[in-house]
Symmetry: C2
Subunit: 138 residues, 2 copies
Amino acid sequence: MADFKLDSRLSADTIAIGDSGLCRLLLMDDSRFPWLIMVPRRFDITEVHELTPLDQTVLTFEIAQVSEILKDITGCKKINIGALGNMVPQLHIHIIGRNEGDIAWPGPVWGAGKSVPYDEKTMRTFIERFSSALQQAS
Amino acid sequence: MADFKLDSRLSADTIAIGDSGLCRLLLMDDSRFPWLIMVPRRFDITEVHELTPLDQTVLTFEIAQVSEILKDITGCKKINIGALGNMVPQLHIHIIGRNEGDIAWPGPVWGAGKSVPYDEKTMRTFIERFSSALQQAS
């Protein structure tokens, strides 16, 4: 089986946080929303139902864990979860913390204006908080 | 524990197909896209991570099954899965069959123009095909 390789467009739009049991964890470089992307480290998978049943179960566990931590550390009102892949076919799951009054509320974040990249310090602080909470939960 | 009751806005926008082990299955009354909605029949749940681990596992299984059937019977190019809930907090999962050239492609379907209700015959035919495929798969 060929190796997992992160799609170049996902790589260009994000900052790598690290790996969970199944997924590469990425922070979308858009400071308007706390927005993570989870990419199962499997070769040539575009749909959730193409994963093995075990991988599907692990993915669900990891999505729930990441969602809960994101809600916890940001205090956001709602988590949005999405697996779209119309532009980037490599299976990837968006986990986004949403708040009333954010720039896309109550619509979806996809296609809502232009992203605003993080400044280095804010980005580092966010990744440290998230990673530390994930480590404590695991 | 109080009983599950379908949110009135979900009810108004959809046609009921039936119940899976965990979910109420609904067809979005928008003939522009093959668009299903799955609502876990649990009381007062707004986020996937609030479900019990067993319900999360069953939900994943059912999402994968419904996605695969939808892709199969429609021949669509891509499945979009989304759990947003910014407007309707009751946890519900969108499963949408997407095609290059559909009216929202490659963007998300949410917020893309006005829905076009089904005519009775097309709607009945779709529900029969889907239900029959689901029964065979279960």
